[in-house]
Homo-oligomer: 244 residues x 2
Amino acid sequence: MTKGLAKPSARPLFAQIEELIVDRVRAGEWKPGEPLPSESEFAQFYGVSQGTVRKAVAQMAADNLVMRFRGKGTFVVSHTDEREHSHFFHIHDDSCQKILPSSQQISCSKSRATPVIERRLQVQANAEVVVIERLRTFAGAARIFETIVVAGATFPNLCADLSESPANELYPLYESLYGIRVVRAEERLKAVAADDREAEFLGVQPGTPLLEIDRVAMTYGDVPVEWRRSRCNTADHFYLSLLR
Amino acid sequence: MTKGLAKPSARPLFAQIEELIVDRVRAGEWKPGEPLPSESEFAQFYGVSQGTVRKAVAQMAADNLVMRFRGKGTFVVSHTDEREHSHFFHIHDDSCQKILPSSQQISCSKSRATPVIERRLQVQANAEVVVIERLRTFAGAARIFETIVVAGATFPNLCADLSESPANELYPLYESLYGIRVVRAEERLKAVAADDREAEFLGVQPGTPLLEIDRVAMTYGDVPVEWRRSRCNTADHFYLSLLR
DNA sequence: GAGTGGTCTAGACCACTGT
DNA sequence: CAGTGGTCTAGACCACTCT
């Protein structure tokens, strides 16, 4: 009957509603795992039809920000969820089974951002950062040497937190201890030669080809959270990429 | 008012309509680049509401089977489209520009399927296949050595076709000459050492780390069409993978 | 102006989960 | 049972394209 908010805006109503709800999720109004208000509640609150709210929330579900269950409700996704474990991990073994590696920490220390880190993490020149080195193992064999860098300002006590409760997966920890949810990532893949240190940790000859995965993980609004460089021995494994 | 087809089926109506329309596209009722009937025509034809057709066709658009333009209509996508060029090509240079390589054919010949080809291309043991070798060049430098295998039964005259009209991109050619549309692909990435032949073509030392991309390209219904192994010198380039 | 896809509404019915 | 999300319908209006 009436157009509702009747804004002369170019953006569709459902996209505006989506943005409003995403902002509230982002602000922590509902924590990971908690239910959002129902469609009808949102519709009443924003003065739009239920169909418009549905389209907004459906888009959030497609973006993996929320999960919907018929008869139960809509819930903020959490890296703590079983099904979210290893969401960004794409290594499979040669028989095409998805791998769940264990992690062993080599070091954790504070340092200063190098130029490449400044650019990829979008931090100030010479900013304080936390650097973690880890070795990841599948089926008893060390396969990945991993260097992880996060901003010290954002994760002030990460090394202490990790020594208190060693974590196999870091993203659930970022979420539970620092309230930061990784929602997307960009990975750049190259083939490189193992240097001496990597070769020793991975038990291969220096110069052995390794698959380098250079990842920037981002939270809402494409804000970088973590830079990670994984060097993988892909003798018995591969990185799976599905294109449509 | 009425439920329409009123099937007691578990699958939603829109999904059934989608399947019916996809089957017709697949059968070639509308060729790549041609317009589909309008939403209202489909709605009348199938005896469902326009909204249900909309949902079906929207899903096809999300799967990249069709493209929709307001005021114009819905069109079967074609690899001949400008914007579909290099749709499955994910190599960028280190300044993050997407690369459009040129291709130089090294060889094209008929051969017999090896066990790995049988499995990946899902052809009979010892089936006739066409094997193409190509060298791909960016900015004057050879960067990718590529081996391509397709079923001989499906592409009987491919070598002759290629010598007649050398093609930089093969998928538009599969589509225009054989009516086969590649709609999705699975890529497996590894780091490998260059063998002597690859090293010579790529101008590197044997043993140099190369990024291997092992791709199976598929048409409708996940039927394999082509197997391709690309070995890339990633000294100045990377493979981009976006995770959400 | 007629036809296209895109948005928005309002209401009905369904399947499912909780109590 | 009331409440949730999921499907389907019917109709209105809009922005855009072609003729």
